[in-house]
């Protein structure tokens, strides 16, 4: 009994090192944060606008990623398609692509003269760069793979015998998905959604490259932080980063316990 309760020393100490490695930079931020003026920095109208915009864009991006990413994950997990392995690898490309390159790629696809964008412009008069929709698109591009990987693993891991049983009892595919698959995988799907949202909230490179930096439309918090750093306003930049951090950690902690069951 006592053996089982003693924490394994090697794993615990290496794990402790890893945790320190992840937490020390955050401690550095907290250490340099201008605590005396932080209220002014945070109630600054420009900062509040940027925070609101960041939350709005990241939520839309998560919604978009879920709306098309969940069906994709389901297809990747369940449907025998030719070239499925290749497709699965390609879907993950935004994870390894430097976000700035992702932004250029988005311009070449959805920009005013892009592969698809030129028709959006000439047929519908829609141009995405420099608009909020563009910022949402850039964030969704970078964030969706997080949702797709998590959801695909969940769909794959769900015990299909329950689904088969429901189907033999006459349930339609949609009913099976709604009544069996979703309850089985719900926590993992929510975890994927939260991961994607967090990634979208912090997105910088693809956003500034594809959507530009337009006040009130695409100038999200990470962009503001970067420009503040560029102009030597280190303290204000840290204050804004702290907002992003606090919001993100708060949401992750609350959701973790409530629904996601993140490990």
């Amino acid at each position: 009994m006592s053996r089982r309760h003693r924490p394994p020393i090697v794993a615990t100490s290496i794990g402790g090192l890893a945790a320190a490695f992840l937490l020390l930079p955050l401690a550095g931020l907290a250490w340099r944060a201008p605590w005396s003026s932080i209220v002014d920095d945070l109630t600054d109208p420009a900062a509040r606008t940027a925070l609101r915009l960041s939350l709005l864009c990241s939520l839309w991006a998560t919604f978009l990623a879920a709306a098309v990413g969940l069906p994709l994950a389901w297809v990747l997990a369940r449907v025998e398609l030719p070239g499925r392995r290749l497709l699965r690898a390609l879907v993950l490309v935004p994870l390894v692509l430097p976000p700035v390159v992702g932004g250029v790629a988005l311009l070449l696809a959805f920009g005013r003269r892009g592969l698809v964008g030129q028709y959006l412009d000439s047929w519908f008069g829609i141009t995405l760069p420099f608009t909020m929709a563009g910022a949402v698109l850039a964030e969704a591009f970078v964030a969706m793979p997080f949702l797709v990987i998590t959801a695909e693993a969940a769909f794959r891991g769900a015990d299909r015998r329950y689904e088969d049983a429901a189907r033999t009892l006459g349930a339609s595919p949609w009913t099976v998905f709604r009544r069996i698959t979703l309850p089985l995988t719900g926590r993992a799907l929510a975890a994927g959604g939260v991961l994607a949202w967090a990634r979208a909230l912090g997105e910088f490179g693809a956003t500034i490259t594809f959507a530009g930096n337009t006040p009130k439309r695409t100038s999200t918090l990470p962009l503001q932080v970067y420009l503040l750093l560029e102009s030597g306003h280190l303290e204000s930049a840290i204050a804004l980063s702290m907002v992003l951090l606090v919001v993100c950690v708060a949401v992750l902690v609350v959701l973790r316990d409530r629904w996601t069951g993140l490990p």
Partner: protein, 266 residues
């Protein structure tokens, strides 16, 4: 079986990861020894320079290495504000060249560089796509309906200049985007997302056939001329090579190269 056979891969990667930087530091510590006093300079000269100097300094670097075969010039091109911050944060480069005096002052007042000298000047220009499809002839045209134009963010020097220029020309229309550096403005125009952008004359030249320039006619306004100072960093570990580099940039040959890329003489 398969996992066992593959288990050497992480180990090999780890070894590589440690071995490669070890080799690198080995080489540079060897060259960072006593500064050579004779004619034969050697070592790895590290130059941090404003991104608008990219093409000109790259060319100058090639010529410098021909003249001093023992020296290996490496560049770090970025926004002047980024470079100034890096030097003040202890990034030990040998030479710093910025695109404005304000950022150089941040470094000199912090005591991290001394005695800056002006190597070149630069002027603003409007960059437009090939063939100038929106027929832009001056700053005033940027305010016309249907013209999408971008500038640098006011936090970077080119954006500060652009905002002065726009105010002076009476343009009240808002730019579509405030880009993070001057090259981002160029690429928004060359990718045809924007019809026009405000950049430096040198950037129009560097964009080559992909873009055209329209002169901005606000002659003689010192607020609209960028001044490029250069200085030796206090942490310089290759002092002799750094001095030789600055002398070379200021020499007739160096100035000729800078002029050929669109810069004006200091």
């Amino acid at each position: 079986m398969r996992t066992r056979r593959l288990c050497w891969i992480p180990a090999a990667l780890l070894t590589l990861a440690f071995a490669v930087p070890a080799c690198g530091s080995d080489g540079s510590s060897g060259s960072a020894g006593p500064a050579p006093t004779g004619a034969a300079l050697s070592g790895a000269l590290e130059v941090s320079a404003a991104s608008s100097l990219t093409e000109a300094f790259t060319e100058l670097g090639k010529r410098f290495e021909v003249a001093h075969p023992g020296v290996d010039v490496t560049f770090n091109f970025a926004a002047s504000s980024t470079l100034a911050r890096q030097v003040n944060d202890g990034n030990d480069v040998d030479v710093l060249a910025t695109a404005d005096e304000a950022n150089m002052e941040k470094v000199t007042t912090a005591g991290n560089a001394v005695d800056p000298r002006t190597i070149a000047r630069n002027r603003l220009a409007i960059i437009v796509g090939r063939g100038n499809p929106k027929a832009i002839t001056g700053l005033a045209d940027l305010g016309k309906r249907g013209v999408v134009f971008v500038v640098c963010a006011p936090e970077v020097p080119c954006g500060a200049f652009a905002s002065v220029a726009l105010t002076k020309a009476g343009v009240t229309a808002a730019p579509a985007s405030l880009e993070e550096n001057v090259k981002a403005v160029v690429s928004k125009v060359t990718l045809d997302e924007a019809d026009a952008g405000i950049v430096y004359v040198t950037d129009v030249k560097a964009a080559g056939a992909e873009a055209e320039g329209v002169d901005i006619d606000i002659a003689g306004d010192p607020r609209l001329e960028a001044v490029y100072p250069i200085a030796i960093a206090k942490q310089a570990s290759h002092l002799a090579a750094a001095k030789a580099w600055i002398a070379f940039v200021l020499s007739d040959e160096g100035q000729e190269v800078l002029t050929s890329f669109g810069f004006r003489a200091p």
